[in-house]
């Protein structure tokens, strides 16, 4: 579990580096970039926000897409609240660490004690490397052209790796295809940032009751 966690954190550090570079390239200052990684601390929302801002989208559309993405952490919180012990103060701190990776590492552990260790260990190493990577990326940012190193492709490449395991579920596949199509169709006809917001409509695939789907209720 420790090895898996450290490997994951190292990869996330590299991803954070590309966030730092991309964020500065999108017009954010080093302080703004680092503040995002410390206080927002949910990668997909951060990437979504700077990608919309970088493409010239409005503040509202940048926020909208990023906040819809952030809403999924609420679902992870529901899953984690049954697994974490501790005082209110400790839970308020745990909330900041409730993201894709910590939830995934924790819920796959066999017992409650290891679930808690996995959550806190992943949370702390990930938080450290995410912010370290962001800082180094932000400081490097203005020195290199992200396009020369293909760093603009690092975002979607990382997202492909994140979304791939989810697609083993039939309904997640349907939502992914529909979301992508909405985004493609909406891109030329709506302002920048709006296509991502509209693609959230694809979650309505979930309204229909599953016929026999044993994976229902999983925390991802």
């Amino acid at each position: 579990m420790i090895t898996a966690c450290l490997t994951l954190s190292a990869a996330v550090g590299v991803f954070a580096f590309s966030f730092g570079v991309g964020s500065v390239a999108a017009g954010a200052s080093v302080a703004q970039t680092c503040a995002m990684s410390i206080f927002v601390f949910t990668g997909a929302s951060q990437f979504s926000a700077i990608s919309v801002v970088g493409a010239g989208g409005s503040l509202g559309s940048a926020l909208g897409g990023a906040l819809v993405l952030a809403a999924r952490n609420g679902v992870y919180g529901l899953a984690m609240s049954r697994r974490l012990d501790g005082s209110l103060g400790r839970r308020l701190l745990a909330a900041q660490f409730t993201i894709d990776e910590t939830t995934a590492m924790s819920v796959t552990q066999p017992d409650r004690r290891r679930q808690q260790i996995a959550f806190w260990f992943t949370g702390l190493t990930l938080f450290t490397l995410w912010n370290l990577g962001t800082l180094i990326g932000a400081l490097t940012g203005s020195a290199i052209d992200p396009k020369t190193f293909g760093l603009d492709a690092a975002f979607p490449a990382g997202f492909v790796a994140m979304v791939w395991p989810l697609l083993s579920d039939r309904r997640a596949r349907a939502a992914a295809v529909l979301g992508s199509l909405i985004c493609l169709v909406a891109t030329p006809i709506t302002p920048v940032g709006v296509p991502i917001l509209l693609s959230a409509l694809a979650v309505l695939v979930g309204v229909q009751r599953p016929v026999s789907d044993p994976s229902e209720g999983r925390p991802t």
Binding site: V40, A49, A153, L166, P219
Partner: protein, 100 residues
């Protein structure tokens, strides 16, 4: 970029996290809502991939990124580690730009 974006996003992101973990706690949501919320990552992250690969502002484009993301998708399909998927996507894109 404005500080408003940073602050509102930070507050909003924490609001969702704390709502699930602390306020709602062990309570369960209506099944239909839970099913829809569970599909957010698949729908939005896929759309982000499409946007960051095939668009430039409001234009749909086909450039070096498409080749890089195809390579990254192959790596993800082969279950290669995250770090390899990212590095491959970036490297292939940079290479195609260099040659093209």
């Amino acid at each position: 970029m404005s500080w408003t974006l940073v602050i509102v996003l930070a507050a909003g992101a924490y609001f969702f996290k704390v709502t699930g973990l602390v306020f709602l706690g062990g309570r369960t949501l209506p099944p239909v809502l839970e099913r829809c919320l569970a599909l957010i990552p698949a729908a939005l992250i896929s759309a982000l991939v499409v946007k960051d690969t095939f668009s430039s502002g409001q234009n749909l484009v086909l450039d070096a990124r498409a080749v890089g993301i195809a390579a990254a998708t192959f790596a993800a399909w082969r279950r290669w580690p995250l770090i390899v998927v990212i590095a491959l996507g970036a490297a292939v894109t940079a290479l195609v730009r260099l040659v093209g």
